[in-house]
């Protein structure tokens, strides 16, 4: 009887104990790795091991010097050494709870060691045991590398992981709530290096500032909230970790492209000359391919930081006059760039193109249903410009960049070559005026909502709102509408 009384509560509390077990996060490999493993398990495991060796696992990240990432580096010198426990003087105080970061000890032949812990009070750095490591003399300089990436990982796990996933594949546990919605953009899958809202020119990746802006401001109108109250160093760490995940994913993807000939055909049969191909691709040229992929990816991310690759207007925004807006409107509906094709005559994001089935990129087939898709094959909608929501920001500069370089990985293209800068500014003036004054402009230069929703005509019909005798290009920004309403 007594035993039963004890056992039942113990069993009942078992889930609590199990639930608190140390959870080990893991990077998930691309789906194609599993496909590859069906024909060539060696190549697949080779790929996995190489990725682990250069990028590590979430709990033991590797700061690979080939990547243009600020891993967080602290220099210092050894004051006294007692085996693996070193008294050190560091240039800056490392963050609390430092462990598992790389330590490069500049002995005669530099040693790559790992820090076990650091005690800030005694300034003692304890290195993990390493066989046959030469003794470290006082005065030796050393570098701790990777604390920033670790901090980024910690913060990412708190704030971002549940949508974007441990691997940054946009497939975290809460992503499903977003996935179920037809038009909600999915959490970004970093692994292709594609980020929609950037300050960079067409074909360039996102800069650190772009990612910072997205994290702090959020993407209005989507599930990406604002993390404005993060501290600067926290924000920087998160951005570095996102870049790290993007680079890891892209290196993996490029290697899978390299190993593509080893993949089974659609009916599951392995390629006929598997053994030869395996030797060539997965053994002989693999390391070279890995290095090439990494340097290519690194170059793209470095280029994104180059100020020359940013979209920066050379002329300031022209005054927001009626004439400028009219020019913007005529470009909006003009066949040369035809914004209205997608955004609709009334700017409501319901253009004629939505009735067509689009081609699947890289194939000759079309999607089974009409509508626009992004590069992840997800249905998306052209922006409803009347809503007043600008996902990439509402600064004139932001809208100028959207018109110039488009939105990456979506059908929204950039018009840098088709339009002059002043034409683009006219479009900016016009687009920013749409939520306030309406997309249509009549022959007198008065703007009104309408076309798609009949009740919107009221705005135009109200004579008090915009008297007909007002000059067409009367600046509208200088007077709040509420003041006009009373007149």
């Amino acid at each position: 009887m007594t035993t039963r009384r004890l056992i039942i509560p113990l069993l009942a509390s078992l889930p609590l104990v199990v639930g608190c077990a140390d959870y080990q996060a893991e990077f998930v490999n691309d789906e194609r790795v599993a496909t590859l493993a069906t024909t060539s398990p060696d190549a697949a495991s080779n790929l996995k091991n190489s990725l682990d060796a250069h990028f590590g696992t979430p709990n033991a990240l590797v700061a690979w010097g080939a990547l243009p990432i600020d891993f967080g580096e602290i220099g210092g010198t050894v004051i006294s050494a007692n085996g693996n426990s070193l008294r050190v003087s560091l240039e800056t105080e490392p963050p609390d709870g430092l462990s598992n970061v790389a330590v490069v000890v500049e002995t005669e032949t530099p040693q790559n060691r790992t820090a076990g812990s650091y005690n800030a009070d005694t300034r003692t750095l304890t290195l993990l045991e390493q066989e046959a490591a030469p003794a470290i003399a006082p005065g030796t300089s050393l570098r701790l590398i990777g604390h920033k990436l670790q901090a980024g990982r910690r913060l990412y796990m708190q704030h971002c992981m549940h949508c974007h996933g441990v691997t940054g594949d946009g497939n975290g546990p809460t992503a499903r709530y977003i996935r179920n919605h037809r038009f909600n953009p999915l959490p970004r899958d970093y692994r292709r290096g594609l980020f929609k809202f950037t300050s960079t020119k067409i074909g360039f990746y996102a800069s650190r500032d772009d990612l910072r802006r997205t994290v702090t401001q959020g993407l209005a109108g989507t599930y990406m909230p604002s993390f404005l109250l993060l501290k600067t160093d926290e924000l920087d760490a998160i951005v570095e970790f996102i870049r790290f995940l993007a680079m890891r994913g892209e290196v993996e993807r490029r290697l899978l492209d390299h190993l593509q000939p080893l993949m089974p055909s659609d009916d599951g049969t392995p390629p006929s000359d598997l053994a030869d191909l395996e030797k060539e691709l997965a053994v002989d040229t693999f390391n070279q391919a890995f290095a090439d992929a990494a340097s290519l990816v690194a170059e793209k991310w470095v280029n994104a930081e180059d100020p020359d690759n940013r979209v920066i207007p050379t002329t300031p925004r022209p005054p927001d006059t009626g004439k400028s807006r009219i020019r913007g409107r005529s470009l909006f509906v003009d066949t040369k760039i035809n914004c209205a094709k997608c955004h609709g005559e009334g700017g409501r994001g319901n253009g004629a193109v939505l009735k067509d089935r689009q081609k699947i990129p890289g194939t000759d087939d079309k999607y089974p249903t009409p509508g626009l898709r992004d590069d992840w094959h997800k249905m998306i909608q052209p922006r409803n410009l009347t809503s007043g929501i600008f996902r990439g920001g509402r600064r004139p500069l932001d809208v100028f960049r959207r018109v110039t370089a488009g939105i990456k990985a979506t059908p929204m293209g950039g018009f840098e070559t088709n339009l002059t800068e002043s034409e683009r500014w006219d479009i900016v003036n016009y687009v920013l005026s749409i939520p306030i004054d309406g997309a249509f402009i009549d022959e007198h230069g008065h703007q009104y909502h309408g076309g798609d929703r009949s009740h919107a005509h009221h705005d135009h019909d109200k004579p008090a709102d915009k008297p007909a005798d007002k000059p067409a290009d009367k600046p509208k920004t200088t007077q709040p509408k509420s003041a006009k309403d009373k007149k």
Partner: protein, 289 residues
């Protein structure tokens, strides 16, 4: 033995209660904001709380001491039979009248605070065209999982509620947009209109003792006067979804609010060329068509 135990048992609780109350200020077990609300109304709400706490403490200690006394006395008395009080008309009247009186007192005493908190402004609202003090109006839209904020163009003075309603109805030129950080006047009344973009949320600033649900489809007015400068945490107090905890915002009271809004506006008008804050591009007639 067991009689003494029960006597002590019921005596010990009021003693513990008094000790906990006495040490709680030292342990920082108190209201947020260093025990003092950052709004005058919040301070009055705290006073009400302390008043009720006082009444409850007296009642609690009184009943506990009485209980201990009765037990103690009864434990000494072996012979006398207990008095069965059930059905005593006088007792029933006493313990109905006394709490009712206390309740009535609280109800009347707090009426002014409640009127200021939720009612008085609504009465002003009936005279929509009447003059009203100009104070900050902002539209705060709670959505999963952030606070989107819209201010009117810096320098706008609303004269009537009708003008505010017209402003709330749609975007206007010169509006200033922000997210997760609300600037308010120091020592002047702030009026915000609370909306929800999706589900139910609650605008909760513990330091200001302001808490108001945001309901989808409604625009709910909230007013308060912050009399301490500084930053105050803004949280969502209504479980609104899996990312509820992400809705961390900040309310900052500043001396010169209009200047702060002008700064925000200058950043919002940034065109990549003209440095923000220097001569904003005044709209003027263009030379070329």
């Amino acid at each position: 033995m067991s009689r003494i135990f029960w006597c002590l048992f019921f005596t010990v609780w009021p003693i513990i209660a008094i000790v906990v109350c006495a040490i709680s200020p030292a342990m920082d077990w108190a209201f947020p904001g260093n025990r003092e609300a950052a709004t005058p109304l919040g301070q009055r709400i705290d006073d009400l709380f302390y008043l009720i706490l006082g009444i409850v403490t007296v009642a609690f200690i009184g009943t506990m001491v009485a209980l201990a006394y009765v037990l103690w006395k009864g434990s000494k008395n072996e012979d006398e039979k207990g008095w069965f009080s059930h059905g005593s008309h006088n007792l029933e009247v006493i313990w109905t009248i006394v709490p009712a009186g206390v309740l009535l007192f609280i109800a009347l005493y707090q009426i002014d605070v409640w009127a200021i908190y939720r009612v008085r402004e609504h009465e002003n609202r009936d005279t929509v065209n009447g003059p009203r003090p100009s104070h900050l109006v902002a539209e705060v839209t709670a959505r999963q999982f952030e606070w989107r904020i819209r201010y009117p163009k810096p320098g706008t003075k609303f004269k009537t509620y009708k003008e505010i309603k017209a402003w709330l109805a749609k975007p206007h030129a010169g509006d200033v947009y922000a997210v997760n950080k609300l600037f308010v006047h120091l020592n002047r009344e702030t009026l915000i209109y609370l909306k929800s973009g999706d589900v139910q949320h609650a605008f909760f600033v513990p330091d200001l003792r302001v808490k108001q649900d945001a309901m989808p489809g409604q625009s709910i007015d909230v007013w308060f006067t912050v009399n301490k400068s500084g930053k105050f945490n803004l949280t969502c107090a209504e479980l609104c979804g899996w990312g509820h905890y992400k809705m961390r915002g900040e309310v900052e009271a500043v001396e010169d609010l209009e200047a702060r809004l002008r700064e925000l506006k200058a950043l919002q008008d940034f065109d990549g060329v003209t440095p923000p804050g220097t001569a904003p591009a005044e709209a003027s007639e263009e030379a070329t068509p």
